[in-house]
Symmetry: D3
Subunit: 238 residues, 6 copies
Amino acid sequence: MNRPSGRAADQLREIRITRHYTKHAEGSVLVEFGDTKVICTVSVEAGVPRFLKGKGQGWLTAEYGMLPRATGDRTQREASRGKQGGRTLEIQRLIGRSLRAAVDLTKLGENTLYIDCDVIQADGGTRTASVTGAYVALVDALAVLKKRGLKGNPLKQMVAAVSVGIYQNTPVLDLDYLEDSTAETDLNVIMTDAGGFIEVQGTAEGAPFQPEEFNEMLALAQKGIRDLFELQKAALAD
Amino acid sequence: MNRPSGRAADQLREIRITRHYTKHAEGSVLVEFGDTKVICTVSVEAGVPRFLKGKGQGWLTAEYGMLPRATGDRTQREASRGKQGGRTLEIQRLIGRSLRAAVDLTKLGENTLYIDCDVIQADGGTRTASVTGAYVALVDALAVLKKRGLKGNPLKQMVAAVSVGIYQNTPVLDLDYLEDSTAETDLNVIMTDAGGFIEVQGTAEGAPFQPEEFNEMLALAQKGIRDLFELQKAALAD
Amino acid sequence: MNRPSGRAADQLREIRITRHYTKHAEGSVLVEFGDTKVICTVSVEAGVPRFLKGKGQGWLTAEYGMLPRATGDRTQREASRGKQGGRTLEIQRLIGRSLRAAVDLTKLGENTLYIDCDVIQADGGTRTASVTGAYVALVDALAVLKKRGLKGNPLKQMVAAVSVGIYQNTPVLDLDYLEDSTAETDLNVIMTDAGGFIEVQGTAEGAPFQPEEFNEMLALAQKGIRDLFELQKAALAD
Amino acid sequence: MNRPSGRAADQLREIRITRHYTKHAEGSVLVEFGDTKVICTVSVEAGVPRFLKGKGQGWLTAEYGMLPRATGDRTQREASRGKQGGRTLEIQRLIGRSLRAAVDLTKLGENTLYIDCDVIQADGGTRTASVTGAYVALVDALAVLKKRGLKGNPLKQMVAAVSVGIYQNTPVLDLDYLEDSTAETDLNVIMTDAGGFIEVQGTAEGAPFQPEEFNEMLALAQKGIRDLFELQKAALAD
Amino acid sequence: MNRPSGRAADQLREIRITRHYTKHAEGSVLVEFGDTKVICTVSVEAGVPRFLKGKGQGWLTAEYGMLPRATGDRTQREASRGKQGGRTLEIQRLIGRSLRAAVDLTKLGENTLYIDCDVIQADGGTRTASVTGAYVALVDALAVLKKRGLKGNPLKQMVAAVSVGIYQNTPVLDLDYLEDSTAETDLNVIMTDAGGFIEVQGTAEGAPFQPEEFNEMLALAQKGIRDLFELQKAALAD
Amino acid sequence: MNRPSGRAADQLREIRITRHYTKHAEGSVLVEFGDTKVICTVSVEAGVPRFLKGKGQGWLTAEYGMLPRATGDRTQREASRGKQGGRTLEIQRLIGRSLRAAVDLTKLGENTLYIDCDVIQADGGTRTASVTGAYVALVDALAVLKKRGLKGNPLKQMVAAVSVGIYQNTPVLDLDYLEDSTAETDLNVIMTDAGGFIEVQGTAEGAPFQPEEFNEMLALAQKGIRDLFELQKAALAD
């Protein structure tokens, strides 16, 4: 098997995490998984949604978007279509659940963290890049909250995400668009640094996948996420 | 561990599959997983979406809804809110992908199959009941198409779905609402009768789940889905 | 004149009223007028719309929907179209006005009753079946409210509805779809058990109707509604 | 009984019908029922809706609106709310059905007539004024079509509409807002000049109405509509 | 150069300003610039938008619409399309900004003035007619507020608007539709009676305009607006 | 007068124009006016809107958006609100008109150019940066079209845009957010390299502006736009 990029089966694309990418947000990261580029910002707003009012805890929610020409063909702008598509809603719900796993909402006060992940260039794996980048922006935003007087540390654990798939009968890590568009199976895995799974979402695009393939893919994902935790730590250490 | 329903950990709820439940649709099934009740219809319409026109193949798509009072508290009607929520879109996309795995679209002619799954009473597991019931309605609809002159057999394989989860530290099969609302983890599994996975969607609602728990849950799901295939066959044999 | 169903001109279809049809709602009825089948639920929620706040009274409102394949051809799901159509709004406004005539809103406390009528199979007369079935569900819901401590009895009078029309130059009662789709005139009548009219809505689909035809149709409707009151009483007596 | 306006029970308000009110439309009428003022235009467009294509016939459809401050309190603009309300849809469907009764659609060619009724000042009875005025605009528009070369005469019969109600226990004709807002019953009647009914829509706003009251109201409506036909004829004779 | 209307280059169309045009609004004006006819109402409502609550000041906002057949070809009704178009939003924002320049919001109390400009016949220059007419309606509405007890005078200055353009290489004042649709440049100017500009919006529809042309157009606009102030004063003096 | 940035009154911010910023679009530019950063892409699609079909010419249209946290406080995402706001529509219409002035649509063939301007960081002047950057992306996209076989050169002239305003009684060029939010007047000017105006949009945010101030501002804008043309040329020369 030869990956179009020449990568080894268990090799991530080149990952770059640029902190403080824009100036207004409490946390702002440009995350690049090869040619996939996502701006992840974290905004802090006083107040919580109605269902949490008066409970003394915070909330975290996420939104996802793509610039119309982030993709090979232009995609219609969701704002002008008048609604977010099913894929967008699915991804932003996933990002929100994943990042909520990283924070102890009871230590946030009645504040809401908005995660915004906007893809400026897409080349496969935008949702996993989003989760991985948003985690770093979240750490920066929590540091800002601490400077503004928040007591305690809401950060519970690290979170990162990667995709794996079966490409030409071989499990491979971190699919780019060329691989993704022909892969038989697409599996997105989100884990904590303690080794637990937050989300495992596998879809057979073509032939169903077998239990043993599934286990191989999970092992690849675990390897890739360990690498991503190192890259997140390095970015945060700067 | 005692399940609220008194079921064994690997025991499905009582499953009932009633064919020809309503009279207009080509396929129409009431599927019951215990107190979860879903009407699954399959409608055949001439024509395909624009992206498939002229390719000589068919299409299958799904929509999902819940009656406002299918749930313990009344849920706002999506038609009057003016849009389908993220959960709805996520589920109907899942149903569509799953059922497309059961048919060879190239043998449908330029026809579209609409799967409609409408929950009239919800007690946990509505998406897995929907997939399992819709498969039976699909078989009936394809038989109607055959009577109307369709050549060949588009049916490729059986498809069924079940949920598993970690309830009070123990993996259990086919969660009802009481279990689902307190479970640590929720895993939906969709398989073919050849033993392949079509979808595996696991979400840690509370603590992240460990690889070994994941494997236990998958084994339970495989067992449950084998049981469901028997129940589908029995219903279709009537 | 021969009705397609073989019924006499003044004969209702077979009417079935099944109480406690689903388990969550305070009132839940499956009403069947022949092959027309509607699930009517009544939900009680604390609070009233803004225009009634602080007036110490309650409110009752209704929503109506059809499953996409309740009809001979599949109807597009209103939730995915993003709005309720004119016919739907017209019917749900009618149901709401009709059922409000049955209750003394000042005796409800600041509670809102939501009537949901969802057609699972349509064969003509869905709006009149909805009103007739919703009345029974309303009685059950008020009994629940009483058990929860509501003082006084908000129920003022019985309400039922039936359609009449001119089919092949003859006035007939309770049109089914075959009759309805070719009828010259369609008249929906909603009455109280004291013999007063709540709504009379007559529409000439083809030729205008004459005053004498109108009076004949009204007389048929009065007869049919008397029969329906007996059926409602029988159902509630179980 | 004293009507606030001092009118007799069977007396219409002062009716004014001004033809050629605006310059662009094929038919354009300002109709005034006392202080109720509605601009009714009829526009001719080539083409028909999809469900009629290729059948060689025409179509007629209606839309209704109110200027935000046509009413005593300002009503939110439907264009900025993003949807037409239920009352608006109900009225415009009624106007469309009523005016379709006046034309033989098979003689229109594949043209669509758009009736637009826009209330610039509301004082009760806007829907009946709309139907009555739109009929005159329709005659003018058909004359324009004839000049443009349409063969044959699509006009079948005259159509007019009036409201009646029970005000202080007495049936009265053509309610103004003061009467309408306190009336027990509101009945809108639409007839042809041959004496047939097109629509009869009666609603008990307060107490249900009795059969004998209903007959008295119908008789009043018949009288009022005869008067309106004379006024329409006079306007068209100018 | 010959204007289609035979007007001189610096000549306004015939302007008519009819006060108290409809009866419900605090201010209500029909303004006519030749065949362009706009109903301008000003409604007073207690309360202010959220961003101003508790600041002890008022607000003024504007909405604009066109009847579907105000134009040569029928325009789709924005209420049925489900949204206001870009042109509409642009114009109503302009009207709002312009009229806010006429009032001292701090002297309004916590009241909101709604300006509604609805075009019943369009022949070019609807936005400038709207601003000019709405000013007169505003003066009337403020007089009503004063009668209702408002202390102080919120009126700061007069406001009027006119369009100018380059038609057949010559700058002309107050373009009608025939001129507007072929003009090279369209400039809308809004001024105060103290000679200051509130808005200057120039758009080259065809060839870009040169600085000297721009100055000529501005001079024409200043002349036209002086004339409009006289006409507003005359209308208010009646 | 001291500008917050220390700039001279007629001094632009630091302008950076980065071509080929993203990889998929035919033209893709990151334009920076100081801290204002906008991604401008130009996409070429076969086909034209319906009103141009069969005329053998092309079309150019623009859309504008801001990432939610491009601003100091988070702005609600328009895609999730379900509509684009008035400010967005106004700006994208302006960008479209301005860029259409740069191209000869009759030389495009039946192709549509989509200009997408997405603000990733806002600090005042986003619409003028968008126009200026989009021009460069347009040149690149037309070069791609030429390589794909387009005959002739649709490019007619250069286009650039700048804002000017009155800040502390002094006309200043290219306002940043600090200046913009307190400026008395805001004037956006769009010109061609032949010295003609395409758009002039001046708004008095506070006190009306006087004719002489207006002329001073125009002169500043002309100077600034000459500088911008040099910067565009330098970027295109790379």
